[in-house]
Amino acid sequence: MRTRTVLRKSISGTIFDCFNATFMILFCISILFPFWDMIVLSFTPSDKVNTLSIKLWTDTWVIDSYKYILSDTKILTAMLVSIYRTVAGTLIHVVLVVFAAYPLSKTDIPYRKQMTIFFLIPMFFGGGLVPSYIINRYLGFVDNLLVYIIPGAFSVYVMIIVRNYFMTMDKAIEESATIDGASVLRILFSILIPLAKPVLATIALWQMVGQWNSWFDCLIYMRSEKKIVLQMILRRMLDNTSMMPEEIRQYAETQPGFIQFNSKTVQAATTMLVVLPIICVYPFLQKYFVKGIMLGGVKG
């Protein structure tokens, strides 16, 4: 907890505070508006739905949509899959990133420049969907839960940020530990990582959000209904037909088994279900941010 020794007696300061607070409140309201509208929609009975304008209240509140969702085992399974991918994916990601960032943060490690370039190049160039699909298929990842966490287990962008952070950390602690005879690995695990909690918390947050929101790999690789993620179900509901060419759509809608009419309330409830868990994650991570992270630059 930082202590503020600032005296706030100045008038201009108070005026500024008022304006700042007002601005923040207005901004927050503008965000809460659509959000609240969605919450209300999820509790509206389906025959009273009208999404043509923003509604702030409904006369009758029902939990039918939520009941419907939670009784659908498909959605519950998808939630479990999403949780799995978020947790496992984040863990693997953070580990791999640290494994690359730490060595590269040592300015005196031989071949540093070559290794950095090696990691940087794929950040800019990609071969596209087809070869990635063929490779992943060869590795057995089609319709396999591993495809959610392994292909995406490393990110150069994130690695650079962590690397820079390591580089700006106080060298003195490290030096004294080396003199005391600690091995390189020991230093990493016992000293640096605990000190680097803020940056690790940040990248963990990014990765968790990214994993939770991913659906494209699900679209491409998954075949069994049991392995799809929550976000995919939401996608199916939301952009049901808009991406289809018109001729296919006209025909598709009259087919048996086609999800013709997705209740707007169910869509809203599912959106809530997808959004709420991840929002709850942030407050838990906030305590790590207080100690601070300093993403320094690199000299040379």
Binding site: F27, F35, F125, G128, L185, L205, M294, V298
Partner: protein
């Protein structure tokens, strides 16, 4: 010591060589650590690179990537001769650059503003609410934008009419001149909260004693913000700026797709949506690969350039 060659250069390079070897030996566990990400990159990032070849071929599904014929840069020719692609390219640049130019300072300022909030509870609440939009998909956000700007009973039109600023409702979503402002403002609204997280963390890492000594020197809040806080997050900002320039030609598909329509194609159609519409006629992976490579090269060049300048002027860079 071993064999020394006669001339000095060889002598010193040999010395250097064994010193290096010793270092490698000492740091061997570090190399072991980095092996894992190295392998991952090899398999998942380098191996698929052969797909770049698709852009130079006439890709036939049955023949696969290696069996398809080279088509003599036909895909690239088609690309650069297509006036609609060129239009999409310039739109992408315009939207991307203006987006960066607007959101960059705004996010920093927003972070500074949040930092100035005194009451911790209020601060936490504002922060949490501010990044809610990040979790809404653009399909949902676009729905609200349409509602907000609707020419019948939309909030904005009602307010403007009531204030007497306009006599007839404006069809915002259908007019080219409003697209860029709408795009930028909605982008700010949705991204400013999430984007400020990293700056707030960086701010929290600034040494408190700097503030205390500034206080003693008579600095007020404004001075502190400008002369301590701001420089304190500059390194972060620079690194992020450089990294984000790499994706300057990748204006997100989702966002544009849900916000554009034929009335605004002229300013809103970007590379990703252009390729999408072309793909509706027939899936041309080779064409899409050519577009992809083009985007990648430009992004790469931009980053390298900015990195070079950043290093010259700032000492902060990524390589």
């Amino acid at each position: 010591m071993g064999n020394c060659a006669n001339n000095n250069i060889n002598k010193s390079s040999f010395f250097f060589h064994s010193e290096k070897l010793r270092k490698v030996k000492r740091m061997k566990y570090l190399y072991l650590l980095i092996l894992l990400p190295f392998l991952h990159q090899l398999i998942f990032s380098y191996a698929p690179l052969y797909g770049i070849i698709i852009s130079f071929k006439d890709f036939k599904f049955a023949r696969g990537i290696w069996g398809s014929e080279w088509n003599n840069f036909q895909n690239y020719k088609m690309l650069f001769e297509d006036s609609f692609f060129i239009r999409a390219f310039f739109n992408t640049l315009k939207l991307s650059i203006s987006s960066l130019a607007v959101s960059f300072p705004s996010t920093i300022i927003f972070a500074l503003l949040i930092n100035e909030i005194g009451k911790i509870k209020f601060k936490r609440i504002v922060q949490t609410i501010s990044y809610l939009p990040h979790f809404m998909s653009w399909v949902v956000i676009a729905t609200f934008i349409y509602q907000l700007l609707s020419p019948e009973n939309g909030f904005l039109n009602s307010v403007l009419l009531r204030l007497g600023a306009i006599s007839e409702p404006i069809y915002f979503m259908g007019l080219k001149r409003y697209f860029v402002p709408m795009y930028l403002i909605s982008g700010l609204w949705a991204g400013i909260g999430w984007g400020s997280i990293i700056y707030l963390s960086a701010i929290a890492g600034i040494d408190i004693s700097q503030y205390e000594s500034a206080q003693l020197d008579g600095a007020n809040r404004f001075h502190k913000a400008i002369y301590i806080t701001l420089p304190g997050i500059m390194p972060t900002a620079t690194v992020l700026l450089i990294l984000n320039l790499g994706s300057i030609l990748s204006v997100g598909f989702d966002r544009i797709f849900n916000l554009y329509n034929p009335l605004t194609y002229e300013v809103a159609d970007v590379i990703s949506t252009f390729v999408f519409r072309k793909g509706l006629m027939e899936a041309k992976y080779d064409y899409a690969a050519a577009v992809g490579l083009f985007q990648n090269i430009i992004g790469f060049t931009l980053v390298m350039m900015t990195n070079y300048f950043a290093r010259k002027f700032n000492d902060y860079a990524i390589v």
